[in-house]
């Protein structure tokens, strides 16, 4: 009997691990599909009580790179034209159009990470059957975190094209905190680039907004980090103008292979204007506090307790 059980185990174990490998491979393929395929459609982004529909057209011309145009269908008119690593946002106001250049190189559905040892150490992959999304058959893949300091990610991957159709972040009670998914999707195959231009508003002035300057942060600074939440490592460290004020801030970025958290700090204002508090918006939490005369802001796609844990880990000399 025992021998029977053992041999069963020997059969089942490799099968299990290869199922996991297959799922990681499926995620890797979905990541590539989002960059390589030509597609257009409408996806809906849902967070808290708000819902935003966005139209996307995406093309890849091999060596010429990727082009995408996103048009926000709800609320204030906005558009994003993406060419390679640059995103240019057009925000239409009553009498002018503001143009902003950003370095965000990809977005839904091209949001999946490279599969690294880090991600495998911090998340377990689970395959969960098939579901229909925007009229297409999708495989459901779940990334279960090792602990409650990060969210569960659920992916719906198109069986046909390999494209990510839907992505949801869930908390430890299995409740969706944020999701984005296609309502309509078509794949196409032609070279026509007529769509790659913003909506034209001849009667408005176009105003370019200035870009930020960013320099690498020098080491030998007056701070140290202790006891990061398990699995997170510092991957970036820069000094930049405060996203909101005219002062220089230090910006640290931490990642566990899937989830990233940013920590900003700057010398604090006089006590009267110091800020403190926490807010969340979908899967994004932000914690603002003061540590040893420094204003510290932590922001990331993690539960509120985790951003606080990061803030508590910084020490100033």
């Amino acid at each position: 009997m025992f021998r029977y059980f053992l041999s069963l185990l020997l059969i089942v174990l490799p099968a299990l691990s290869s199922a996991a490998d297959d799922s990681w491979l499926m995620i890797e393929k979905a990541a590539q599909a989002a960059h390589k395929l030509n597609y257009k459609g409408v996806f809906v982004y849902q967070v808290a009580n708000s819902m935003t529909a966005i139209q996307i057209t995406h093309s890849n011309f091999g060596n010429s790179g990727e082009f995408a145009r996103l048009t926000v269908l709800d609320g204030a008119p906005k558009e994003v034209l993406r060419q390679g690593d640059d995103s240019v946002i057009y925000k239409s106001r009553s009498q002018k159009v503001l143009i902003e250049k950003r370095r965000i190189q990809s977005g839904f559905p091209a949001v999946l990470p490279k599969i690294t040892d880090g991600i495998k150490a911090n998340y377990q992959v689970q395959v969960g059957g098939a579901e229909r999304v925007s009229g297409r058959e999708a495989s459901v893949v779940t990334l279960m975190p090792r602990d409650k300091s990060r969210y569960i990610s659920k992916l719906w991957i198109d069986k046909d094209s390999g494209l990510l159709l839907k992505l949801a972040s869930l908390n430890d009670k299995n409740e969706i905190v944020e999701q984005v998914g296609f309502n309509q999707l078509v794949l196409f195959n032609n070279d026509n680039m007529d769509w790659f231009r913003p909506n034209e508003e001849p009667n408005k002035a176009y105003v370019m907004q200035p870009e930020e300057t960013v320099v690498p942060a020098t080491e030998a600074d007056n701070w140290t980090m202790s006891q990061l939440p398990q699995g997170f490592h510092k991957i970036e460290q820069v000094r930049r103008m405060s996203p909101f004020r005219n002062v220089v801030v230090t910006h640290l970025v931490f990642c566990d292979g899937l989830t990233t958290v940013s920590l900003f700090f700057e010398p604090a204002d006089k006590v009267a204007t110091r800020k403190q508090g926490i807010m969340t918006q979908g899967a994004t939490s932000m914690y603002v506090t003061t540590v040893a005369d420094h204003q510290v802001v932590v922001l990331g796609e993690v539960p509120p307790a985790t951003v606080i844990q990061f803030a508590n880990a910084i020490n100033f000399k």
Binding site: K91, R102, F108, L112, F196, T280, L299
Partner: protein, 163 residues
């Protein structure tokens, strides 16, 4: 319209260094045929032929832009709000909004253990500030991990939906 054509021909004669800024040109693309063909030739054509912009030129022009806000083709008679004034207006708004809290997302149910660490007073952080930090976060982790819904956030939240 004539003035615009002049500007655009200046652009095409390289008097205005917009070659490196296809997005600026795109912005100036109106129904004018010349402009359209110019844009198509330079932006789409170059991109497809992979002769697109030179990085150093881009940097220089972007530097110029940073120093001096560029206003493209303002319609006659329309007074364009200059950037310094706009920035000043924004900071005034920021000051008056300090203490503002009813921002469009949920202010979560905070776990009790967490709540102890948080002062009772509201976050003196505007949704504009939240969005700014969110964008800074998104820009600086572009190659790592799950990018979540960054460019969606970018369009959905780069302009606060306060209405």
């Amino acid at each position: 319209m004539d003035e615009m054509k002049q500007q655009l021909s200046a652009m095409m004669d390289d008097e205005l260094d917009l070659d490196a800024n296809p997005h600026l040109l795109l912005a100036a693309t109106h129904s004018d045929d010349i402009v359209k063909s110019w844009a198509e030739y330079h932006l789409i054509g170059d991109a497809l032929r992979r002769e697109a912009m030179q990085v150093d030129v881009t940097a220089r022009v972007m530097q110029q832009l940073a120093n001096e806000p560029t206003v493209l083709a303002p319609p006659p008679g329309f007074k364009t709000l200059s950037l310094p004034r706009y920035a000043a207006a924004a900071s005034v708004a920021a000051v008056t909004l300090v203490g503002w809290m009813a921002w469009h997302g949920d202010v979560t149910s905070t776990p009790a253990s967490v709540a102890q660490n948080i002062a009772k007073e509201p976050v003196a952080m505007t949704s504009e500030a939240f969005d700014s930090y969110l964008l800074a976060h998104a820009e600086y982790a572009p190659n790592n991990g799950l990018q979540r819904n960054r460019d969606v956030q970018l369009v959905a939240y780069s302009e606060p939906q306060r209405q």
